[in-house]
């Protein structure tokens, strides 16, 4: 099949970017979207031009590296599908396709389609873990966990940290990502001790990173490749409320000061 691609090219964070247009012939419908991008790059390299920079690694929908807005949607038109798992058979012959980076103030562009998502790591650093050094631990079967609870925690934990929720949100909010992590750990018995500090610390960090606030557009859920439910945002809000009502604020900070 033949396709026409409009791709965002931008040399570095400071420079001005623009769409460039390329034509590809002989695209196989069984190619993945990234294999089509490889084909474009090989064509560019043979013409002596530099290829389009984009992030990718696992190519099976689980590392969360591949980030692109395709025809206006994060990871493209197919529901619950990452860019690497999108196939050219989902486009028609002769299609015109627009490819842009994930856009959000908190995700600065590095080059072309590549953005800096390290803000997510910093949100995790602020409390997205169970404090725990390696060494002998209690027998896990001594702490039974309802399988339904474990499953729901796993639903939340399935977030691949791709950032599509941010790119999809008109406000550039990172609520879905943060809520997924807060819920995953907050539902498990092991995560209880730090539960209320965690929700406060992670939401504070989220705001400091410059992500927008949640206005319930639900675009995040619609474009999340892992189908993470916005119900987790409700769960996080409820924990946040409890935290601000009952739990002492800034316990972590006080511990450090001791």
């Amino acid at each position: 099949m033949k396709i026409k691609l409009h791709v965002w090219r931008q040399l570095n964070p400071e420079s001005k970017g623009a769409m460039e247009t390329y034509s590809l012939d002989g695209v196989n419908p069984d190619m993945s979207f990234l294999e089509m991008m490889d084909m474009l790059n090989e064509q560019l390299i043979e013409e002596g031009k530099e290829g389009v920079a984009f992030d990718h690694d696992c190519r099976e929908g689980v590392c969360g590296a591949c980030s692109m807005v395709i025809n206006g949607e994060a990871h493209g038109p197919k529901r619950e599908t990452t860019t690497c798992q999108l196939y050219m058979r989902h486009f028609s012959d002769g299609a015109e396709i627009y490819v842009e980076p994930f856009r959000s103030g908190a995700f600065p562009i590095i080059r072309d389609l590549m953005v800096d998502r390290s803000a997510f790591d910093r949100i995790i650093q602020s409390g997205g873990f169970i404090s725990n050094h390696s060494g002998p631990k209690p027998e896990p079967n001594s702490i039974p966990i309802d399988p339904g609870v474990a499953e729901t925690a796993l639903d939340a934990a399935s977030c691949i940290g791709c950032g599509a929720c941010v790119a999809a949100c008109p406000n550039g909010s990172a609520m879905l990502f943060t809520a997924a992590k807060v819920s995953h750990l907050g539902m498990l018995p092991q995560g209880q001790t730090e539960r209320y500090d965690r929700v406060q610390d992670m939401t504070t960090q989220m705001e400091e990173e410059g992500f927008g606030s949640c206005r319930n557009y639900a675009e995040c859920e619609a474009q999340c490749p892992k189908g993470i439910s916005i119900a987790f945002i409700g769960r996080m809000n409820s924990d946040f409320l409890k935290a601000s009502l009952v739990e002492p604020v800034d316990r972590r900070g006080k511990m450090k000061a001791q």
């Binding site: 190619m31 090989e42 690694d57 190519r59 873990f129 499953e151 796993l154 092991q190």
Partner: protein, 639 residues
């Protein structure tokens, strides 16, 4: 000659690790922050190592080439992780896990290492659960298990089909905690390109910032390589696209022995390749073989749809050939048998290189919902890629390159032949022998990272005299200059061919000449073709851009250059190992039934290659293997 002192503990194997640990020297808590450890890689082995060493109070700097440690290749592991918890009450024990792993590796691993792995397996599950890894649970809230190939017990713990992701998130979160605590300094989007060796010890690395192109120097007291496997030498594999061998090859060129490079595991259940443009193969977890039955049509010219083929015309070749293990034979056996029936012309799908993995019987017995819920995301993944629904028509699968058992040689403390340089996870050769059983790599990565390296590294560091070495030292300048020369040499080729096409061609050579089966002739042919392709690379590759900026073209080229050198080393090892064992099947050495035939008399050793300079033949060193706890026996999955 390399000195291969494995430092194996003496005495009964049951107490070996405990006794060994008791004798290791320690660094006191107050002194740990004086030592700097570099951890290269942040997959399961690297993240667990960096987090654990950091939490002890050492200064750690951790590197990965992805934008976040959470994206390391480990995230893709699907099926599960083994531990001999005996939760099923089916007779599992440390001993049994040890025996299965030794046998699975066809007795080409050190038994002391394998025993330790089995012993630590239970602690890994405890550790992961305490980090909040949401393993599958039963109705009573206890942990659930399933079975993997090559064993007769259910000892595999899992999180749907995303076990690697969940375990990595556990380790990644532990790592992020340490980053926040400032014990670990994380360097993402950074590739380590070379090592600085002073007075025979590793004292630092040279890295390249993949965004700016800046070359940087890092001084260290010890370096831990956790850089994963090299299956991508075959171009097509189940590995993530960016997995490569460069970190290991460059260590090899600086004096680290490379052990058993030819041991490559070919996984039996991958989605078959369909066209030339394909950039990777997608694995369908082995756990599917719990419920899926593998078959091909009995007749060569079968044209009917699979559902229309009656039982009598189906050849359930694994069940017929291996009645006891059936569809759960080890990977190499399943892979070879698949290739065998396809070579006989019985294969299915457009290329004829595919076999059916059929869930119809399980669906009839347990209901479609039960089967679907067990393998939910795998079924979705399959459907997405092939456009076929596996609950309606059988999956098509074929073997694919998956895991590499070779790696840097390490002693019992996981130290390479370069003092101060350690290797953990898939990057070392230590625990899997000639084959790896399913669900055992995650176990090894985490045993190495959480429990072994944090204590053995202290033993090394406690013996070091502190000096005031800085990156201004001339040794750093020299290695940095060599790194720059290498980049400039690549950039000056100015040829026509994309490095991707050269990589693809190398992959074809490797698959044909050093793949599922090898012969003396095929390997010799491979050893002729690879140097020719290397010539082509250095004369005609098109590598654009400059060093001093982001340059994905050059990054890729550097990795392909290393794959070319490494492919040759692999073929050389495969040629010298004139026996069959585990995944290494030399066609000349088979039993009448087509099974791998070992030669323990001549080959019960680990092959360790030593670099002798560019263009020189590497020297083969041998570490003999002793089998005292578990005497040698023939691997047999038939009865």
């Amino acid at each position: 000659m390399l000195t291969l002192d494995a430092k194996l503990p003496q005495g009964p194997i049951e107490d070996a690790w405990t006794n060994h640990k008791d004798q290791l020297r320690l660094v006191g808590p107050k002194n740990r922050s004086k030592y700097k450890v570099l951890v290269i890689g942040s997959g399961l082995s690297g993240a667990s190592a960096a987090a654990s060493i950091g939490a002890m109070g050492y200064q750690v700097e951790c590197f990965c080439f992805q934008d976040s440690p959470r994206r390391a290749h480990s995230i893709a592991a699907q099926g599960g992780i083994n531990a001999s918890k005996n939760y099923r009450n089916d007779g599992d024990s440390t001993w049994r896990l040890f025996v299965d792993t030794q046998k699975g590796g066809d007795f080409r691993a050190r038994e002391e290492n394998v025993y330790r792995l089995a012993e630590l397996s239970t602690a890994i599950i405890d550790q992961a659960v305490s980090q909040g890894v949401p393993f599958a649970r039963e109705y009573g809230g206890k942990l659930a298990n399933r079975s993997f190939g090559g064993v007769l017990v259910e000892r595999t713990f899992y999180c749907r089909g995303e076990t690697g992701q969940q375990l990595l998130l556990g380790a990644y979160q532990a790592l992020e905690e340490q980053i926040a605590a400032k014990t670990v300094n994380m360097q993402t989007r950074t590739e380590v390109l070379d090592y600085v060796i002073i007075d025979g010890k590793v004292r630092g690395v040279i890295s390249r910032d993949l965004v700016t192109g800046e070359i940087k120097r890092h001084v260290a007291d010890a370096v831990v390589l956790a850089t994963g496997g090299y299956g991508n030498v075959y171009y097509l594999s189940t590995n993530a696209k960016n997995c490569n061998v460069s970190a290991l090859m460059r260590a090899y060129r600086r004096g680290a022995g490379f052990a058993n490079p030819c041991f490559t595991q070919i996984h039996p259940t991958s989605i078959p390749a369909s066209g030339d443009y394909q950039s990777k193969l997608t694995l369908m977890s082995e756990s599917l073989r719990n419920d899926g039955r593998i078959w091909v049509p009995r007749n060569k010219d079968e044209k009917r749809k699979p559902s229309d083929i009656p039982e009598a015309d189906r050849y359930y070749y694994l069940e017929e050939r291996y009645p006891r293990y059936g569809n759960l034979v080890p990977r190499d056996v399943a892979a070879r048998n698949a290739k065998d029936v396809c070579d006989q012309g019985l294969g299915v799908g457009p290329t004829g290189y595919g076999v059916y993995l059929d869930f119809a019987a399980a669906i009839e017995q347990k209901g479609v919902d039960a089967v679907k819920s067990k393998y939910a995301n795998l079924f979705e993944m399959y459907e997405r890629i092939t456009d076929d629904d596996p609950t309606k028509t059988p999956m098509r699968i074929f073997p694919a390159v998956h895991y590499t058992m070779g790696g840097l040689w390490v002693d019992y403390n996981l130290m390479t032949t370069i003092p101060g340089m350690f290797a953990v996870g898939e990057a070392n050769f230590a625990d899997h022998g000639a084959n790896r059983l399913g669900a055992s790599s995650l176990m090894q990565c985490l045993a190495d990272g959480y429990f072994i390296i944090p204590v053995t590294i202290g033993n090394y560091l406690s013996g070091l005299e502190k000096d005031n070495l800085t990156t201004d030292d001339e040794h750093f300048a020299k290695v940095e200059a060599e790194v720059r020369d290498h980049a400039n040499k690549m950039l000056s080729i100015k040829g026509k061919r994309s490095t991707n096409s050269i990589h693809r061609e190398l992959g074809k050579i490797m698959w044909e000449h050093c793949g599922i089966q090898r012969t003396e002739a095929s390997l010799k042919e491979g050893l002729k073709k690879i140097p020719e392709l290397r010539e082509e690379f250095w004369n005609n590759a098109s590598i654009l851009g400059v060093n001093e900026s982001m340059n994905q073209s050059m990054e890729h080229a550097g990795r392909v250059a290393d794959f070319l050198d490494f492919g040759e080393l692999m073929c050389r090892d495969a040629l010298l190992r004139d026996e069959s064992c585990g995944c290494h099947l030399r066609e000349e050495h088979q039993t009448p039934e087509g099974e791998a035939k070992r030669n323990d008399e001549d080959f019960a050793y680990t092959a360790v290659f030593e670099y002798k300079g560019e263009g020189e033949e590497p020297e083969l060193n041998k570490e003999p293997l002793n089998f005292e706890a578990l005497p040698l026996m023939t691997r047999n999955y038939k009865s």
